[in-house]
Symmetry: C2
DNA sequence: GTCTATACTTCGATAGAC
DNA sequence: GTCTATCGAAGTATAGAC
């Protein structure tokens, strides 16, 4: 029955996503995915030929969610600083809903035999963003910094804490709920940093 | 011969470190370690009973290198800002010599069955550092920010780029040599950020 | 201490019945 | 489409000779 088909497929995808994100490719077990989906291993292979195949499917699906379309931010011509602020808010909010993503992406990319997955990342050096910086710089609206280093810093500050989440929770003795709050407060904190860094006499 | 003993053990440790750091526990192969050490698998088990055992040994050895003794920085009473600057320089320099460490630590910690490894990390909330901030704040030498968030941000900016190294290299089209330079320049860049963030009217 | 050969285990994948 | 049973590859660990 077609109805059954897609229902099972849906269950598999849901389970696969959860397991792969939590464990990464190497540590993920087809058995665990089958168990979580409430089916058996054979059926997994019936729907998705191999583990590799299933993984690739999940990776591509999640990766497109992970990197917000920057285009939307360029709509109502904001300043460089305002664009960055909007990005930070959006990015942290996405990560809060997908806390395993940063580690998932990094563990995939760092695997020797998965180097080609880098090419699947919908990231680029966003020329538009750098042009926006240059424009604001020429008008003295922002200080002179290296825009590449700044962008790396912003992504670092947003994404890294999610990877270090177990460590942060341990040493600050907070639970999952409080960690979420910490990341919530963090948005304004990072925006404030960027203001101090970019805006003269702020 | 005792001479032979320690020589072989030394070769094993050297090889194990390289493989474990590059691949993480799950993807590392005892065969690869044996090959790199120029011996066979059986001998690995003769020296270190199991893969788990060998891994734990390497982890504990490297982790102590990874986290610089902050104590040394408190020696000649620097200001909070100066202490942070010294830390950044030292930390990035260590990471540049051990570029796989951030990912190695994170992948170990994130493994479901290795959660207890968190307790092996020689990190703590360094009360001394926060006290130093409070002192400088009371003297209006620094702006008011959340010191915990700031520390998280600094570690993020230093460590994350090493995890994202393959991605950064890919999208900026630079090679290993140039990446090292990028991280070298980065020290001053981050220190500058911290100055803008912390020091009023800077 | 070191090696070869092999046992044991885990896990992805497939065959075949229903 | 779904299940049970089983294969085969890969990888850790050990036995036993030298």
């Amino acid at each position: 029955m077609k109805q059954q088909n897609s229902q099972t497929e849906e269950k598999i995808l849901e389970a696969a996503e959860k397991i792969f994100l939590r464990d990464g490719y190497g540590d993920a077990r087809m058995q665990d995915i089958a168990d979580l989906a409430g089916i058996n291993k054979a059926l997994l292979h019936y729907y998705f030929r191999s583990k590799d195949n299933l993984f690739e499917y999940i990776f591509e699906k999640k990766i497109s969610v992970m990197f917000p379309k920057m285009e939307e931010l360029f709509g109502q011509n904001l300043s460089f600083y305002e664009t960055i602020c909007a990005f930070i808010e959006k990015y942290v909010s996405i990560l809060a809903d997908n806390p395993y993503m940063p580690f998932f992406v990094m563990s995939t990319i760092n695997r020797a035999d998965r180097k080609d997955f880098i090419k699947k990342l919908p990231v680029s050096l966003n020329q538009k963003l750098i042009e926006l910086y240059m424009k604001d710089l020429s008008e003295k609206k922002v200080r002179e910094v290296n825009p590449i280093q700044l962008i790396i810093s912003i992504i670092s500050m947003c994404a890294f804490p999610f990877m270090a989440r177990p460590v942060i929770k341990e040493i600050t003795k907070i639970d999952e709920e409080q960690f979420k709050m910490l990341m919530n407060f963090r948005v304004a904190e990072i925006q404030q940093y960027i203001k101090y860094i970019l805006i003269p006499n702020s």
